[in-house]
Symmetry: C2
Subunit: 505 residues, 2 copies
């Protein structure tokens, strides 16, 4: 396989950008070409999540080729939801590695800030499983439900969890204050974090990445440069939350990471720093665990202890991450590559010499994730087979059955959130919960009210058209049910009760 | 470069399909896997043009991986407008050729028929340059304007052009009648063609491909099979019509074809049959010229003479083409590959043994085109360097200036159409013309009425907000203008008139 190197890189100042999308793309593209040894490329690979709905433009690849004055050049748009920029790098990588092209320009970008928050939330929510979306689930809502499950699984108090999330937010905003291209360049305080409004319990505004315009550009080449793209991997995960058997770890990241580590002949211990997809602060914590940097449940502590700080032993998101750098969805996966390359080249405010950096990008609710490893081309390859290998379960293609209707009118709360920023058509506060039914299957449901929610609580479940609704059972209802069961038992004959098998004969 | 072979292929019955998009994809995918020697693939490459707006689904790659029961598998969506299926083949090709994967499943699909024709037309029109779209230009409108220009350039009478377009329509519908998976399986008569309503002069309903649901699937592998993907090329072209210097040939096809022929070490003479993008009948004619099968202006005659018929020397669209097989936009480029592979394998109703087939797919208004060459792996490579090489003009990236406003209030018609099927917000008949201004630049404008249109006619041009309007000058107006000019000349002093240089000194 042809080795793939990185030449020029660039990104626009992330934030609110009044220019048309094609012009934002052009700036990053022309800067990356200008920073390259050779200014000619053979093809464009363009990551964009949803220009169709964000800016009403289809055919974005042709449009950008044309807008750059490169009419004629092959140009392809790649999309994997919010990891589209990373997907474009993978497609560009394969194009060079195959020998089909020698030099390609990879672009990623999105324009979002001109729309209302509710419109943007609705568009972003189209990545979510339909049944869960119909209940009013948004990306923050599902992230919040995962966070609540994380808290329960690792037996964290509310305040301990809050301290973990807060430490990630504070770190990334502090890092963003050093990054002149970040959307937010102000450090925030613990008080500001705690004062920020709840978006979806337990997540606050400062736990969520912002809405952003921006583009990034990377020239990939077969000619040796100072930075080599040494490992790349992709994985997917279940679309819906209800079909996951593990809520606090992302299958898609684990699959992608194994491939990338294997290809780069390295391990988590061989990585000097990483840019990861902190669309929500808990996702940074979970991702640092999925990447093998910290054991499950220990990513939050590592953040509190400063292990992932800018000058810590393993800097995570030294650029500010999606949290502070901003999150133009189609650009983020590529902006991470730009940040890592700049740091490897010593073009960042850190004094340390870094040899190998990693990026991790998440599409949708961790349904389509990428891990990319970049290293200085002069660094020796470290043979470090310390990685616990993860093999995805062997799967045979088959048509999946549609989600079955609930089998019972009762269940218990697997995880939940109360949503304060709701999509159009839903009034806050909106309670959402994943309900485990008697047969073990999960269903997403909307709370008839938003009080008394707790993991493990028993609920009544009812269906109105396609919507499932739940109500937490009250103490009184539970006592009444116990009485009813007791009464049924007393009126039943002893033989029926104690010897059902005999009765069948 | 690792050689790339085709294993199992499949496509759904094209037409109106009531199933959800993911289910349509699944059928094609599972059938292609079942027809393959090995049922396991390492990744999915999915071509889809606009599931965001057609079916309200983003994150389609993850959704399809999940729906196929292949949760975990890398899955990427590729988009280049209506050539997305061909783009997915190219991405899948590069993935195998690089050695990164050994076996991938390439999918292409779209679901469109559940929407109204005007909604579908609006979504499809998002591929068009914004200024031209604002005038009411649709894909049929622009295709019609290209056709009118073709007629003028090659000095064809209305009836001769009509005979050419009709012969393509009749041929492809006849071919479709032999294809059990085609949307239309009825041959049509010349009378039916002539009786079909005008969509955009000179194009009739039977010149335009239908609105269709469907999916196609192709397994690509590094393991030798009976069919090899031997050449593949992509090119882009100007987004707008007004920036083209050649209306009757598509730059994007010519660039793609040169690359594909070079790679396959063949030429137009080495191709036994082809599936080309006949979204409009004139596009089949132009494409057979751009591919080097016939000289410029001779593609229509070839169709009339039966050279491109099912049993002709060079069958074009023996499957029925987009015209009769149907055009689920994201599927079409891949369905072409399926058709060619089946024919090479002798699974088609023809008695001939074919060795090498070509597919040509068009994205948008020929802004993003692909050419792919497939051949029987047992066929000897024909060295035939008879191809006139086309080199795209060397280009340096630069930010293009926005389209300038018209410089004069007069101009002449470069080409035009009268649109009878208009997008929402425009009433038929709608006259559209490309107007050449005095400085040579072109602008798309809407006619204030739809009479007296002809290429070369002088018009008045005026601007209302972003919209440009034209009126054809009447004989009286022209006489009046001549008189005015004459009067101005007489009142001007002889020196000013005859010796302007002297006066400046």
């Amino acid at each position: 396989m042809q080795a793939v190197y990185v030449s020029g890189v660039s990104m626009t100042k992330f934030g609110k950008d009044p220019r048309p999308l094609a012009e934002i793309f052009c700036q990053a593209a022309l800067e990356a070409l200008a920073a390259s040894k050779e200014q000619e490329v053979e093809a464009l690979y363009i990551g964009a999540m949803n220009p169709e709905e964000f800016v009403g433009e289809s055919n974005i690849a042709s449009q950008i080729a044309d807008a750059m004055g490169l009419t004629g050049i092959p140009a392809m748009r790649i999309e994997t939801a919010s990891s589209a920029g990373a997907a474009a790098i993978q497609a560009g990588f394969q194009a060079i590695a195959s020998g089909y092209y020698r030099r390609v320009l990879v672009l990623g970008g999105e324009k979002m800030t001109h729309l209302s928050t509710s419109a943007t939330t609705r568009i972003l929510a189209e990545v979510i499983d339909k049944q869960e979306r119909q209940c009013g689930a948004t990306m923050p809502a599902l992230a919040a439900m995962i966070t609540e499950k994380y808290r329960e699984k690792f037996r964290l108090s509310q305040s301990r969890l809050e301290a973990m999330l807060c430490s990630v937010a504070l770190k990334n905003h502090l890092n963003g204050s050093r990054n002149p291209l970040a959307q937010f360049q102000q450090a925030i305080t613990r008080e500001a974090y705690l004062a920020s409004k709840l978006v979806a319990t337990p997540l606050r505004l400062y736990d969520c990445s912002p809405i952003t315009d921006g583009a990034a550009a990377v020239v990939l080449t077969s000619e040796k440069t100072d930075v080599r793209l040494s490992g790349i991997g992709q994985g997917t995960g279940p679309l819906s939350l209800r079909e996951r058997d593990n809520f606090t770890s992302f299958l898609a990241t684990r699959i992608a990471a194994v491939r990338a580590y294997q290809m780069a002949e390295t391990s988590p211990q061989g990585i000097d720093f990483a840019e990861v997809h902190d669309a929500f602060t808990p996702f940074e914590i979970i991702t640092t665990e999925d990447l093998g940097f910290f054991p499950p449940g220990k990513g939050g502590e590592a953040a509190i202890e400063g292990k992932t700080a800018f000058d810590g032993p393993l800097p995570i998101n030294p650029s500010g991450g999606l949290k502070a750098r901003g999150h133009p969805v189609g650009a983020s996966g590529l902006a991470q590559i730009v940040e890592v390359v700049k740091r490897l080249r010593g073009q960042s405010p850190s004094k340390r010499q870094f040899k190998r950096g990693l990026t991790q990008s998440t599409g949708g609710l961790a349904t389509n994730n990428f891990v990319t490893i970049l290293e200085r081309a002069d660094s020796p390859i470290i043979q470090n087979p310390g990685l616990p290998l993860f093999s995805p379960p062997p799967a045979t293609a088959r048509k999946k059955a549609p989600p079955p209707a609930p089998t019972s009118d009762e269940g218990e709360i697997e995880t939940f959130t109360i949503l304060y920023v709701t999509p159009d058509g839903f009034l806050p506060p909106l309670a959402l919960a994943l309900i485990r039914q008697a047969d073990g299957r999960l269903i997403m449901a909307q709370g008839e009210d938003s009080t008394h929610l707790k993991i493990g609580r028993e609920v009544y479940l009812r269906q109105i058209d396609d919507l499932y609704l739940f109500t937490v059972k009250s103490q009184l209802q539970k006592v009444q049910e116990s009485l009813k069961r007791l009464l049924r038992r007393r009126t039943a004959s002893p033989s029926e009760e104690e010897n059902p098998v005999d009765n069948k004969l």
